[in-house]
């Protein structure tokens, strides 16, 4: 993982852990505010509906009171018909007032039932339900005339009420609706729903409005006749048979809460990004400081290892020099042998360092057949194994197994594992290289029958400079370098060890598909 990625991850973690709890708390708070806002909006709509209902009740009461007053004033006047006709000029809403008797033909007050008219002629004030006349709501009413066997009757024109309801506005889009006893619209503030006033078609609210008069509560939030989600306040006028609904689209009613939520989200996002940016810069600085310190520490370790190993070799070379200074021809074979050994040892020392500097570049990878590759490794380690009196054997995969990689680096890694295995083996024992395909991966295992690795060592086995072998050239860079090479090839390394029984290192690499499925393709052979 690069320093940038680590810095970014740390910055995100720190910022998220700092900002998110605050954000969650704020969202919860706003949700509560939103619910309260919704309740407050509904209460306001309810209050408007109740006010409208009260105004309607007052208006009707005033009209009827005016009718009674006219009846009282005009009833016994000799020119009553003319005066009644003139009433239409001063109070158009009272309609055409007529003196009705038993002889008056039906139709003057079409909505009154015969028994109601009979009661009116007996001196009782009667009123019909509201109904739609040609274009406006109307109400038939009869009041006592003061003359026996007759009554003043008229059709009250409720156009003014219809106007009042239609003019109620809540916010920009809120409006009022008035329904009759059957739930049909009498007035609609919503232009789109106004056709239903005339067509008498039911709207979505119709059943709710009718039910409200029988005591059933209407919902405070509903889908209205236009298909909009609305908040609503309801009021009923049971005596008149009217229901008033005041509705406001929910998105408008709750705009404040929604805006606050939006601002909060924006603020949180900005804070989060800011925290991440600041965190990223700080973490990068810290990582740079740590890396510098780590480099010094690494350089110290390398220096210690080099000093130790070269010092050891230097001691041996000084002893050889002393032997050579004796000029004793008997020592010459031993001097020659020792020099050859030391030169080989120092060459390996240089090679190990050289391996550390070589990078695996995927664009340079070539197809490698793993059985053949294992043969090559086996041949390379054969001399070393013979010296140690350890037998080397190869267990090949049943078919060709192709991978893709830097052959030199992979061979260095495999040889490293093989030599380690040989070093760990007792004379006369065996080291086996095994090629196989497992879980879709190509696998090269190196197994020895040595003493095994203690469990507490395995955890740090691949850490740099952690070798405990100080008997020769062991910088402790071998296994970390093997892991680096394998990882650069998209693979992995694992180890299993049982004390007293031996150790198995497993290199797994991605199978190079087309080559594995057509192993005989000569054009791709390395």
């Amino acid at each position: 993982m690069t320093r940038q990625r680590i810095a970014l991850l740390l910055a995100v973690l720190v910022a998220a852990s700092g900002v998110l709890p605050v954000l969650i708390l704020a969202v919860l708070g706003l949700q509560i505010l939103r619910q309260r806002g919704e309740r407050a909006s509904q209460e306001a709509l309810q209050a408007i509906a109740e006010q409208a209902a009260a105004r309607i009740a007052t208006y009707i009461a005033q009209q009827r009171e005016m009718l009674r007053a006219v009846g009282m004033a005009v009833g016994n006047q000799p020119d009553a018909p003319r005066r009644l006709a003139d009433v239409a000029l001063d109070a158009p809403s009272l309609g055409k007032l007529r003196l009705v008797s038993a002889e008056t033909p039906r139709g003057v007050t079409p909505a009154l039932k015969p028994e109601q008219i009979a009661a009116a002629l007996r001196g009782t004030e009667v009123a019909s339900d509201t109904y739609m006349a040609e274009l406006s709501p109307a109400l038939d009413v009869c009041v006592p005339s003061g003359r026996p066997g007759s009554a003043f009757c008229t059709t009250l024109d409720l156009l003014e009420l219809q106007r009042q309801v239609q003019r109620i506005r809540v916010g920009e889009k809120g409006y009022a609706l008035a329904f009759d006893r059957t739930g049909k619209l009498l007035a609609a503030g919503s232009g789109a729903m106004r056709a239903a006033v005339l067509s008498r078609d039911p709207v979505a609210e119709s059943p709710l409005a009718a039910a409200l008069l029988t005591g059933t509560a209407a919902p405070a939030r509903l889908r209205n006749g236009e298909g909009l989600d609305v908040l609503a306040g309801w009021a009923a006028l049971p005596a008149l048979g009217w229901t008033i609904a005041v509705e406001q689209p929910a998105d408008e009613a709750l705009r404040g809460a929604r805006t606050a939520l939006g601002l909060l989200a924006l603020g949180a996002a900005v804070t989060l990004l800011l925290s991440m940016a600041v965190g990223y810069v700080l973490v990068r600085r810290m990582l740079a400081a740590l890396e510098l310190e780590e480099r010094f520490r690494t350089a110290g370790k390398i220096a210690a290892g080099v000093t130790h190993d070269l010092g050891h070799r230097l001691t041996i070379l000084r002893q050889i020099e002393q032997l050579a200074a004796m000029n004793d021809p008997d020592y010459l074979p031993r001097i020659r042998e020792s020099l050859a050994t030391e030169v080989g040892t120092l060459r390996r020392f240089v090679s190990d360092f050289s391996d550390l500097t070589r990078e695996a570049k995927p664009q340079d990878f070539l197809p490698i057949e793993l059985n053949t590759f294992a043969d090559s490794v086996l041949a390379g380690a054969q001399g070393y194994a013979s010296e140690a009196n350890v037998a080397l054997e190869l267990q090949r995969a049943p078919s060709e197994l192709w991978v893709s990689g830097d052959r030199y680096l992979l061979e260095r890694a495999a040889l490293n594992l093989t030599r380690n295995a040989i070093e760990a083996s007792k004379p006369g024992s065996r080291v086996r290289l095994r090629v196989d395909r497992s879980d879709g991966q190509a696998m090269l295992a190196v197994e020895d029958q040595g003493a095994g690795i203690p469990a507490d060592r395995i955890a740090t086995l691949f850490d740099s400079f952690s070798s405990t072998k100080r008997s020769g050239v062991h910088l402790g860079m071998g296994l970390p370098n093997v892991r680096r090479i394998v990882a650069a090839h998209g693979g992995a390394i694992s180890v299993k060890s049982k004390p007293g029984e031996g150790t198995t290192f497993r290199l797994s690499l991605p199978v190079n598909g087309p080559h594995s499925s057509s192993p005989s393709a000569p054009a791709t052979m390395p």
């Binding site: 003319r82 006709a85 003139d86 239409a88 000029l89 158009p92 040609e134 274009l135 156009l159 219809q162 106007r163 239609q166 503030g189 919503s190 232009g191 789109a192 106004r194 056709a195 006033v197 005339l198 067509s199």
Partner: protein
Amino acid sequence: MKRSVRRLLLLTLVVGCTAPPGREPFVLRIAIWGPLGELAPVADDEALASLAQPWVFERLFNLDATGQLKPGLAARVERLSGQRVRLELRRDATFSDGSSVTEEDVARSLQAGGLQATQSGGGLIVAPLDSRSPVDALLLEARIFRQSHGKFVGSGPFAVVFQTETELRLTRRTPQAGHVNDVRLIAYPSTKDAFAHTLKGDANLIVDLESRWLEFFRGVPSLQIIQGGGRSTDAIAFNGALPRSERVQLARALEAQRVRELAYASAECAESSGTSDDGDGALAAGAALRVLSWGPFERLALATRRALGDRGGELSHVSPQETLVRMKSRDFDLVAVRPLRWPPSSMSLVWRTGAPHNFVGYSNPAVDRALDAGDWPAAESALREDPPGAFVCTRNQVAVVDVRIKNPVLGPYDLLETLPEWEIAQ
């Protein structure tokens, strides 16, 4: 990979080249209530189809908003002595059946409108058949047509596509982008149905509305309310048998603002903003005056009777037919009427002795002389000296129309005569 890219490119090409969802061509659907009747070039007040007259049958000339003549089917108009006019026709005019408009067609059409036309040196000399009738007013009423296969065809921008009892469809003869090209007149059985269908969107133009019903259309997003000046004035006509001095008093009393306020909603009348003599409305004692009303004039009649005070007599609200009979038999003292007031030449049709719309039998030689001379201010003055009635309220024409119409204008003469020029917002 390559195949996916190819598919993606193909998909982009297909989506990019697919036509957008088709936009419905704009159709102007006019809601009317009552019998549709037949569309004919000769005015029939009962037939609502006559709304379409101005778009199908052209006039020889039209009026602009100030009452000035502007060319129609006639390219030139020249006033001659007396009640004679010389016209030259536009040469490019054709009827909707493709035939050219000839001077013979014009002469025949004018004859149906009470005018005679004689050819004279590449033009036509037009005069009224009845010398008492005003040539200007008759020319404004006359529409040019030809009968083709038993049907009337006109030279206007629209032609009838088909007609049923409840629908009349017209299309523009030469479609114009951004303009109304299709018009339908839809007759509904009642006002309520016409309003409901307009509110639902089945119709997008409704005319002849009372201002009290505008509330229905306010706040409807798809509609706009438009107004135009009225051509007629609600008036109380007097029986010619009443003495002139009494008629002068009556006119002063009934043209008062308080009568207007009682009879109409505030600001409904063009006269409301003008000054009015409200303090000098007392009538001399005399016999009770009977008031006759019909149709929409019940309230005006009530206000009139109240303004008459002690002289207010019996008020009869009867059918239009009975009103006409009683007017012709002079069986009334005062009657509610709606005479033409604009253009000024229309006075000739209403107040000249023996004029076709002079139902109350008014006769005033001074008025006749002024009208015959085309001196409209003098005619107005003479009418004020010897008033035929009290002119109470000139109500605006009100209509509700689709909000997409950019320049909806009513009138000035026929209510929807400017419809062919209406533009549609794209």
